[in-house]
Symmetry: C2
């Protein structure tokens, strides 16, 4: 065995790439996943509700695949169901007003973003990212050594005017324009904010003017619970400046771990060969057999209704249980509510007290590229039962009140 | 739409990474996959025999997973079957005399190799690779901008003495030692050669002396048809200089697209966070339910017998149908026989005539990092029925004779 006291990998430290040397070996979620959840309401992760997992549907899709196309589905190539999946996604995007030239199926949205990074990002290249953002996004960019340029997010989503100023300042200082702008336009993770239509248009114009690429991660886009659906960026992009990432993980099941990247043909054809290898074609076959003949759209109607009720329940509980010092954006879709507390409260150490009171959340610091203390936290209403939402939010309210008292 | 006449991706050429700019957008297999195979014996790709795909077994494993652990198997996390899979692989490796500290499940062997590259290879870094080699390996290294240092492969596998000379010459010329040595020790793809035990030991000593890492891709290791099994490199490595890559794609089914990377804890823990994201946990659950309780080892016995018979059939057919100018290495396992023809024959243009005569093979040029004409070709005995092996080899023999006649 190696002598790990000297350099960590037994004489191989010197072989590590510069990026790998700086990537933490521990999961960023380790401090939260290690919490004992017995008797605690889990509002932490964005897990689909267990009761909404399509167990029967996927089971019958498996039978269909095995009975009608097993030899091909288990072989390299994948057979007719796997072949069908891009068409199903094309049709789904068309239903949402997105007419794309080309798309590629991926092993989920992070795999798609990873492929975008491999195609465009060299260590030190800058990417503009709406902050706070999903931890997984920070991980993917970090694994490519990207320099993250944080852009504020408010109740109308990514602050495009602030991004414009940042880019102008960078150009003035002789710094390069970020190659990519990463945005979660609908029900942003974690803030729940939706990018306004005027900002969408302005972002595309900006990208066209400065010559960068907009990557829209729209994994929650199918989960709108109220109001009109704004056009996707890729749907209104006339200059081939944007890529659209989507996923079945939130709407069908995380276990299928399947998503897509869609956009102009010239762009997708560059990304396709850079996507990391490993295509679980059996899963894709099962998913296609599950989704064909309009079944996907029928499912979306069903899950939207159920998640809307959960969201409403959480919003009512927040109104009832949280002190007036707390504020949040009302999300019109997705899985999350982002809570802003008074600046004096650091939600990372607060988590321990929250768990004692019976609730787990994700501390705001997890959604930032630096380690500064944060007075924000994310709640997920997707996973637990409705009455547990009430209990969890009540426990959170109590935790916050105690912290405010201690503080005062 | 973009004006693709000017720069290919509508004004985004300048954003591409240096590596992506040079990666071909077309599959290296396109010229072979596009061949109309009607009435043609397909000896080209390393596909498992359709009759050996475990359709019943996987179907019943799916039922088990759905009936006993569906909620977890479809969720993030994956549940108890997915959790079981690393133990099954640990046990399988122990059966082969490999006692590893740590392993990680991957989306197949290419995904594992990709993760190794991300951990160690920066564009321009050199890697020593036994040539000819599997095209997918050249693709993965190419996608990381690696500089491939070709090392000859003969009937005893990678020529370690030649590698040693190459490294010495490089050091003398002030060039860096390759960071990685990539080797397929058992029934190498495409040559079928097995690395001798003395070369295995010498390779590990060399790696220890010069401070590089050996990556052994052992996806065919479970498919030995005769003779004694030599120890794996990772099995006899005492200095944490090697990583072991394996896969279920050849032994269970390509559609599950699942493999592993195993080795010293310090090394695997560095690679784990660099593996590209996207984990199809449902597939892993099905595979674990299929493999548990010794079922995997029972299956291996079965498939080994069937592939041994196919190999014997091909070797007999080669003896009968190929002219004396052709030679090959007798493979003691795996899927392939590598045919060496007289230098004057270029097997790339020859393929068209072979198809006319009723057989498809893979031209030798596909297994080299450059485009030089090659007088070699690879036959796979894994996929077609036994009598088709005879027909295909007879058609190849006729094609070669005609080429020799034309040549003379």
């Amino acid at each position: 065995m190696s002598d790990e006291t000297t350099d960590g990998v037994g004489g191989f430290e010197h072989l590590l790439s510069e990026v790998a040397r700086n990537v933490p070996t521990q999961s960023p979620y380790a401090s939260v996943t290690s919490i004992d959840r017995a008797g605690v309401v889990d509002l932490s992760f964005g897990l689909p509700a267990p009761s909404l997992l399509p167990i029967e549907g996927l089971s019958s899709a498996m039978t269909t695949v095995i009975e009608t196309d097993a030899e091909e589905a288990l072989q390299y190539g994948g057979g007719r169901y796997a072949d069908l999946l891009p068409n199903i996604v094309h049709e789904h995007l068309a239903n949402r007003g997105i007419d794309v030239d080309d798309l590629e199926i991926t092993n989920g949205s992070s795999h798609a973003l990873d492929g975008v990074c491999r195609t465009f990002i060299e260590p030190g290249d800058s990417v503009a990212v709406g902050i706070p953002t999903f931890t997984g996004v920070l991980q993917v960019f970090g694994n490519h050594g990207a320099d993250i340029v944080p852009v504020p997010v408010d109740e109308d989503g990514l602050d495009v005017a602030a991004l414009e100023r940042l880019i102008d300042e960078r150009e003035y200082a002789g710094k390069p324009v970020p190659k990519l702008v990463f945005v979660i336009p609908n029900f942003q993770n974690p803030t729940g904010a939706t990018l306004s239509v005027s900002r969408r248009q302005r972002l595309l114009s900006l990208a066209q003017r400065v010559g960068c690429l907009v990557v829209e991660d729209d994994v929650y886009g199918d989960l709108r619970y109220e109001g009109e659906t704004p056009p996707t960026l890729t749907g209104i992009d006339e200059n081939d400046r944007s890529l659209h990432i989507g996923s079945f993980s939130k709407t069908v099941a995380p276990g299928v771990s399947t998503g897509w990247i869609a956009g102009p043909e010239g762009l997708v054809s560059r990304i396709r060969p850079m996507l990391s290898p490993g295509t679980p074609l059996l899963t894709r076959s099962i998913l296609a057999a599950y989704s064909e003949d309009g079944q996907l759209e029928r499912r979306l109607t069903l899950v939207r209704e159920s998640y809307r009720a959960r969201r409403d329940r959480m919003l009512r509980a927040l109104d009832r249980h949280l002190p007036p010092e707390a504020s949040w954006i009302r999300p019109s879709g997705g899985f999350f509510v982002w809570i802003q507390l008074p600046d004096a409260i650091d939600t990372t150490p607060l988590l321990e007290r929250a768990v004692e009171n019976g609730v787990v959340y994700l501390p705001g610091a997890m959604f930032h590229p630096d380690d500064s203390p944060r007075s924000t936290l994310r709640l997920s209403f997707s996973y637990v039962d409705r009455q547990d939402i009430d209990h969890g939010v009540a426990a959170l309210g109590e935790t916050i009140r105690l912290a405010l008292d201690t503080d005062a």
